[in-house]
Structure formats: C-alpha cells, structure tokens
Symmetry: C2
Subunit: 305 residues, 2 copies
C-alpha cells in the first residue's frame, strides 16, 4: 500500500497514431504541455517511424521541438529501428523506447522485421546511445497474446526479457499487452516471475482495455510488485484487429481507481478529467473513458436531482 | 481455482428498466428463453414495481407467464414491497429478491420508504412465503457507496446484513454496487468480512462498471471467496445519476474473463455473444460490452487481414 505508483501517459503516441484524422501539431504540443503539469512521470510524446506508415505522427520532431519540458517528467519516443533512433536522439528525447514484438509474426507485421533483425538494429542503436544520458527502454509487444498466434509462451517471453536485460543491458523494460489479450491470472503469474528474475529492473506494464480487463490487469500487476503503468488519456488507442473496441487503459479511470484504493500516484485526477473532456472536440468523437462521464465516486449528488 | 462460479443474468430487469423505450413483451420472453439455454444459473426476469414508476417492466406478470422455464435455472423477480411480492408470487417466481438500500437517503429516493419501513414490509412478505418453496433473497443496494452520501460505513452494511440473516432469516443475500462506486480493495475487505460472518450463506455480488472497475471488483470478490455474480448481457443497465456511463458488468465480458483465467462457470460464452449481438436492434443503440466488438482472446486473425 505504501508503494508509489508511476503513471506514464501515452495518448499522443498510442492514442493519436490510430485516429483517422491528423491532430494538428499545435494541439499535440498544447496537450503534452498540459499533461506535463498533471503529475504523470513519463510522457510518450510520439514515435519516430515512417511518416508514410503513420502519417498521424509525421510531425514527431516538430512536436519535440515545441513542447515545454517539466524537469520531473521523462519525455520518451517510440523507436523501431536505427533511422528512428537517429531522429529521436536529434529531437532530444530523454528516453528512446525500443519496440519489438515477442510474437515473430506480429513483429514482421508491425515493423517488417524478424525479431533477430530487430535485435540487431537495437544493438546498433545502443552504440549511439552509449556514453550519452539517453535512457533506453525496451518494449516487449504482444507479451501476453498475439492476434495471429494466440497466447505467447512464457518461455519465449522470458527469453527475450533476458536478451533485453543481460545481452542488450537496457535500462528498463515494458511488457505490452498490445492487442488487449492479457487476463489477470496470466499477468500476475508472468509479472511475479519477471520481478523475481530482475528485482531491481524498472518494469512497466502497458495494458489495453480491449476486452474490459484493463483495470483488473492493473490490480494483478500491482499484486505482483509492478509500480509503473502506461495509460492513455480518455482511453484512446486501439488495435486494427478490433475495430470499435476500446484502446489503452484510460489514464483518468486508472488514477481514479488507484486514488480510491489509497495508492499514491502524485497525479491530479481532476486535471486529467478536465483534459479528457477536451478530447472529443480534438478527435471528433466520444472517448471510451468512464469517469469522465460518470464522475468520481467522491462526486456526490443532491437528493432532489 | 476449482470453485464453480455462478453467473446470474439481470439484463431483462436491471438492463431494460433504464432504457427509454419499452422492449416488447415477446422480445423479452424470447431473450429470457434464449438466456435459459446459455448455462446461467439464475435470471432476474423482471421487477414487480409500480408500472407508473417503471413502465418498461409493466408487463412483469405476462413475461413470467410466457417464458419457457429450464429446470436448472432459478427465475427471480425484484420486489420492493408487499404489493410487489403478492404479484411476484402469483406470477410463479421461483425466488423473490427483496431490495432495500443500505443508504437511508437512497432507500427513500428509490422506494419511497425508510429502511425501517422496508424491513417492516419484508417481514410481512416473509409471512406469505413461509411454508412455500419460494426462495427469498435480500439485496443490499448501495452496499459500497451511495450517490448522495458517499461511502457507506462498514458497520451500517454489516448491521443490515445481520438483520437480513439473523432477524429475517433470508435464504441468501446480494451486495449490490447500485451506482458503480465500489473499488477492488473495498470489495475484498467487505466480502472477506461477510464470508467470515456467514460462511454458509449464499452471497451474490452485483457490480456495475460505471467507472471501469467492474471486472477488477469481480476478481477482488473471488479472492474474498464469493462465487455468485450478477451481470447484464451487453453491459446494459445504468444509473440515472451518470448519464452516458456504462451499466452493469457485461455478462459475456465477465464469462470471457473467467474462461481465460480458467474458472468453471458452465456458461457458453459464444451463445452469450450471439445474443448480445442482437441487443442493438432491440434497444436501438450500441452496447457497452467489449468482447462483442473485439472478439474473444482465442479468436485469431490471419496475418494478411
């Protein structure tokens, strides 16, 4: 109960990348600046990927250039390859977040590389970051399940975890439930093992709420000793294989639950709710988040309402 | 893990009562008959309340008259007062589900009675059911929080639990999170105490997903030893104080999660999904359930999709 939990915001990357419209650069910058004042510990600003593949984030460098940084916040960028890493480093990212899928087929589909090719690129990237103060996080996408292959065998997951930690010597690792396939027992079992393997490794879990289990998975991860959580304002995000499904776990719903339980996050849920209420006019539709519609459990009503 | 979990369907009562349109009686009967073949253990068919207050369920007796009963399913009816109990007994309900809010103000608002008046009515009802084989369940609405009063003190909750069990000698009890204010730690603490107080009492939890914590609360309740869960197909239902918010926990999302974890429910999730897909044309809008949009975690995709 006394553990401090870190909330890490991914809406401008994982959320905006799947929206059919391009969110204007100035709006992205404005939102990131506002999120910087909410108490979140990390913001995944954007990703440095092909602007043809993800035109929504083609302004990655410009966004980085224009945000006002809060010294208590880490500004990270998703990077799948050497080219992206060069751009991210040039843009002044505090952290680069390398991403590879544990599922071979998903990695090929997502970044057009085998896992071997991805790991080779990561080694090239690490040559560039060595000696700098750029933090390197490694994300293991499809850590729990893959939309093509189903459940990912534990052995394969922990093999790549070991590669990340022992061979690549990454600073920290994220287990991502990329398409919302994790369930609470699986999360608790896998995260307990990961924490046992590397007790001092900073581990993030990145859940999607695709099948309604997002916050249940958070509780399972906390029970396993995890303290870092990715989430997206409004619950934006999603998965091309589940049209209409909800996306990432919703930051304000997450913080609202953790506040209710009594965990310390240092995040101001009211600021998040206020920001989330601005999303519909930005993306042109309603958001999946619940608290923004229902109010907090501490918002009482007059009896004659 | 070896415990069997009971799934109890409430969509035609808790779901339909809040819809702005009247669902035709024949459609209600058809849906109940189909739900009777899914493996759910109990169906809350309707409620016997004032047709002026809840016109959506004015056909309560006709629905009961026309359903085809499955001998493995308990057909229950919500009842707030003597008048309702008489109608429910006449209609041939297997069980009557007495409802009183633990919150004084919510009980007054919901059934226009003080808790003392409700308990008095319940005693009159029990005189009618004594010696029959009608099961009497007691629901404690707002067991966790009240939209007017906030968190309900534990002492008050357990006082009424004791009244239900020791003074009224009810057969079973439901703790209802009527407006979706429960959080996982509170659920685990309260349900552990309830199970300790009455280890052989059949206890149901009735959660709403109003603030996204529904399935997390289910896991918390399972950890506390609870085995009976109310849920509504498609996640219908809701709360007049949270317009736009989601309603009851969604039956197919619940069963999907329990299946993934490996719990035995005896419920056929594919049948539920098929039925849930018919709801939008019945109620004229999309449903909050997630699995119906995202598919099951076991539904794999071809790579060239």
């Amino acid at each position: 109960m006394n553990r401090k939990l870190h909330i890490q915001e991914v809406v401008t990357r994982d959320g905006f990348q799947i929206e059919p419209i391009f969110i204007p650069t100035a709006e992205k910058v404005k939102l990131i600046n506002a999120l910087s004042q909410t108490g979140v510990r990390k913001i995944e600003v954007t990703s440095f990927v092909s602007p043809k593949a993800v035109p929504q984030l083609k302004d990655a460098a410009t966004v980085f250039e224009n945000i006002e940084r809060n010294e208590h916040v880490t500004y990270t960028a998703l990077v799948p390859n050497v080219k992206g890493a060069i751009r991210a480093i040039e843009a002044g990212a505090d952290e680069i977040n390398l991403v590879m899928s544990v599922s071979e087929s998903h990695n090929i589909k997502n970044v057009q590389k085998t896992t071997e090719q991805s790991l080779h690129e990561f080694k090239e990237i690490l040559k560039m970051t060595k000696g700098t103060n750029i933090v390197v996080n490694g994300s293991l996408a499809t850590s729990f399940g893959c939309p093509f292959e189903g459940e990912i065998p534990e052995q394969r997951l922990f093999h790549f975890l070991q590669t990340y930690v022992e061979e690549l010597e990454l600073d920290s690792v994220t287990f991502a439930d990329t398409t919302g396939m994790a369930h609470p027992r699986q999360v608790e079992n896998r995260m307990k093992k990961a924490v046992e393997m590397y007790p001092t490794l900073p581990i993030t879990v990145h859940f999607h709420n695709t099948r309604g289990m997002g916050l249940a998975n958070v509780i399972a991860a906390i029970n396993a000793g995890i303290t870092r959580f990715d989430a997206a304002l409004g619950g934006l995000g999603g998965c091309p294989f589940a049209p209409g499904a909800t996306g990432n776990i919703c930051t304000e719903d997450l913080v609202h639950m953790l506040d209710a339980i009594g965990y310390e996050t240092a995040v101001d849920v009211d600021k998040l709710i206020a920001l989330s209420k601005q999303l519909p006019k930005l993306i042109g539709k309603d958001v999946p988040g619940q608290v923004v519609k229902a109010g907090k459990i501490t918002d009482l009503h007059p009896m004659d309402e």
